[in-house]
Symmetry: C2
Amino acid sequence: MEMDKTLEKVFELIEAKKYALVREELLENNEADIAEIVEEVNDNIDTEKAVILFRMLPKDISASVFSYLSTDCQMDIVGGITVKEVQNIMEEMSFDDMIDVMEELPANVVDRILMRTDKETRKLINQFLNYPESSAGSLMTIDYIGLKKEMKVRDALNFIKIHGMDQETVYTCYVMDNERHLEGIVSLKTLVVSEGYEVIKDIMHEDVISVNVMDDQEEVAQIFKKYDFLALPVVDKENRLVGIITFDDIMDVIEEETTEDIERMAGVFDGSGKEYMDIPVLHHVKNRLPWLCVMTISLMITGGIIAHFEDLMSQVIALVAYIPLLNGTGGNAGTQSASLIIRGMAVGEIELRDAARVLWKEMRISFTVGLILSVLNFIKIIVIDREAMLVALTVALGIFIIVMFAKLLGGLLPMAAKRLGIDPALMATPMISSITDMVSVIVYFTLATMIIGFAF
Amino acid sequence: MEMDKTLEKVFELIEAKKYALVREELLENNEADIAEIVEEVNDNIDTEKAVILFRMLPKDISASVFSYLSTDCQMDIVGGITVKEVQNIMEEMSFDDMIDVMEELPANVVDRILMRTDKETRKLINQFLNYPESSAGSLMTIDYIGLKKEMKVRDALNFIKIHGMDQETVYTCYVMDNERHLEGIVSLKTLVVSEGYEVIKDIMHEDVISVNVMDDQEEVAQIFKKYDFLALPVVDKENRLVGIITFDDIMDVIEEETTEDIERMAGVFDGSGKEYMDIPVLHHVKNRLPWLCVMTISLMITGGIIAHFEDLMSQVIALVAYIPLLNGTGGNAGTQSASLIIRGMAVGEIELRDAARVLWKEMRISFTVGLILSVLNFIKIIVIDREAMLVALTVALGIFIIVMFAKLLGGLLPMAAKRLGIDPALMATPMISSITDMVSVIVYFTLATMIIGFAF
C-alpha cells in the first residue's frame, strides 16, 4: 500500500519534471525499494526516465540498486548509460551478481569491460562465464574468508577484521591447505565464543558437506533446505575450493524452480527465468501453443471415438449430455492426484521407493471418491433428469471406473516420468486430461453398448 | 542414492535384530540424515522400532534429530517414550522448535511438562502457545542477543562470547532500551570489523525493518525474499522486541505456502501442513470431494445445456464429436493464463495495479493463439474428417471465441479474487474449467443454430 503511494507521487513529480524532488523522494527509500520504483518507471513510463532516475543515485548505492533490478530492466538501463558507468557499477557489485549481469550483456560491452580489467580478474570472469547455466558454478561467488588450520582464533578474527568487509559472508569461514583443498569449516559464531589462543584445527568442523561445481542448482537447493545452511562450499573434482553459494541466491533458485514446475504443470513452460510481464506476446504464444495442439490432437481422437458410436447416440441421444461429465470428472480427479505427487516429489517428501505405498493410498482414495460420486450421479439422473435406469447405471459405472483410472494414472505417471528421467511436472493437467478424455469416452460407450445396446 | 543404500542396510540389521550395528550405522550420519532414517523406519516398519532407534541416540544429538522429524513422526515417538524423556528433549531444543512441538502434544503431556518448568518459562510458553497459527508470533524465537547502545564493541563481543552459544543466531544483534524498545540492529560482521573502543550506537543500523507479532507469515516471507535477511525482529504494538524470526524457519514457510497454493490450484487443499503420506485416506477423500462435486454440478448444467439442443444434434449428429474439443481447449487455455497470473501474484511480480496491462497482454496472446487453433481445426475438419463446410466453420469460430474468453477469464479471475480478499489460487483449473465448459457449449450451440440451423 505504502509503495503504491510512493509510486504515485514519483510518477506525478516526473510528469511535472520536478527531478530534484524525485531524487529526494527516492532517497527516502532503501535500495530494494528504489529498485522497485526504477523498475515501475521503466515499465510504465519509459526507459529514458528510468535512466534519469538511476543516474540521480549516489555512487555508493547505485550498484546495490542495480543488483536488485530484474534482468530486463538491467539491460534497459545499460543501454542508456556509458560503458564507463557500467564498469563502475560492476566494480561495486559482488562477484556473483556481476557474473549474472555479464551473462546477459551484449558481447561488445563485455569485451570492452574485460579490456579494462586486470589479467587475473579477466581470467576468473571468463572461467565463471563458462559454467553451464543452472550449475552450482554459475551460482557461486569467490568472495569468502579462507583460513589456515594452524591459525590461532585471535589471528583468524584479526584476518576477518581486515578482509571481512568485502566478503559476501563472513559467517562461515573455509579452512584450506596450500593447494586450496577444503579441510574444514568454522563459523564466526564458533570463533567468537572460543578463546583467542585456541587453534583453528581444534575447533573446525571437518565433516564438510560440499557440492561439485557442475552439480545442478536443484540438488544444491535440496541440500540447503535439508540442512538449513547459510552457505555451502563448491569444490572441483580434486576437492579444491572454487567458491561458495549463499542462502540468498538459493532462495531465488527455489522460487525459480517452483515457478518452472507450476509453468510445466499448466503447459506454459518458458524457462528463460523472465517474469510474465517481461515475456513478449509472441513468446507467450509459442509457450502455450504446443500443449494446446497436443490437446487438440488428443481431443480429435476423442471426437473420432465418439463419432464411431453415432448409431448408439442417435438411438439414445440422452447419452450425449453426459460426455462432458465423464471427461471433466476424469480429468479433474487425475489432476488432483498428479499435483499432489508432483509437489511431494519436488519437495523431496515422496521418493521413487514409495511407489507401492502411493499406489495403495490412491487406490483406497479413488475407490471411496469414485463410489460417492457415482452414487450421487445415479440418484440425480433418476430423480432430477428422469432418465431411464439403464442410462443412470451406465453413467454411474462409467464415473466410478474413470475416477479409479484417473487417480491411479495421476499417481503413477509422475513417478514413472521421474524414473525415466523426464520432469514429473510434465505429467500434470494437459497430459492427464488428454489421456483420461480418450479413456473415458471409450469406457463410457463400451459400457453403454453393453448395458443399453443390449436392451435395444 | 547413498541414502537408499544406508536405509537398506539399516532395515536388514533391524530385521536381524543386530541393534549394536544399527547404532554404529546411525551415528555415521549427521542429525538431518538420522532423522530421515528414523522417519523411514517409522513409516515402513513400525513405531516400536523407530522408538528403539531414537533411544539409542546420545543425549546431545537426540534433541536435534527430534527437531528434524516430521510432526507426525514426532508424535509417534512421544507416544513411545516417557514424559521425563520428552521433557529432556524439550530442554535441549531451541525455543521456537519446542513451541512447535508443544502445539501438537496432547494436553495432558503439555500440562505435565509445564508442571516441571519454572514459573517464568511457564508464563512465556503459555504466551507463545496463544499466538495464532501462521502469525509472526508463532514463528519467532526468544533466543537472540540483545545489546545496549552505550556498550563498547569489545564489551558487546565479550557478551556474545559468553551468551552466544545458546542463541538461535548471533549474526544479527538487537539494540534495545530498558523498556525493550527496539532502537537498532548491528550485525556480528560489523562488530568484528569495528575497533574495540567504538560504541554500539555509532555503528548500529537505526532504520530497522520489523514485523508485528500478529502479522501473517506470508507477509513475513515476502519481506525476507525482498531484502535477503538472515533474521527479522518481531515487535509488539509498542515497538517492544518480543522475538526474532530466522531465515531457516522462513524457508519452511515459503515451501508450505507454495504447497498450499499448488493444492488450492488443483482443488485438493489440505491446510494441515501435513505431508501426502501422513494424511489419512479419509482426509484425502474429504479434501478432494468438494471440488469434484462442484465440477459435477457444473458439468450437469453443461449436460443440461447440451440436452436442450437435442433436436439440433439429432439433425447434425457430427456436431457431438466436437463437444470435448471445445470444452478441453477452453479449459486448458484458461488454466494456462490463470496459473501464470496466480504464480506471478504469489511471488509479488504482478500487482493489482497491473490489471489493465495483464488484460491487454492476454488479449493479444489469446487472439493469436485462438486464430492459429481455429484455422488448424477448420482445415482438419474439412480435409481429414470430410465434414460439411458449415460444421467446420461452427467449430473453428467456436474455438476462437472460447480461447479468447477463457484466457481473459483466466487472467482476470485471480486478480478479481485478490481484490475481493479471496485466495487467487482458488481460481485455477477446477473453477476455470467449470465456467468455460458451460460457456463453450452455449457458444458452440448458439453458433451452430445460427450457422447450421439456418441452413436446415
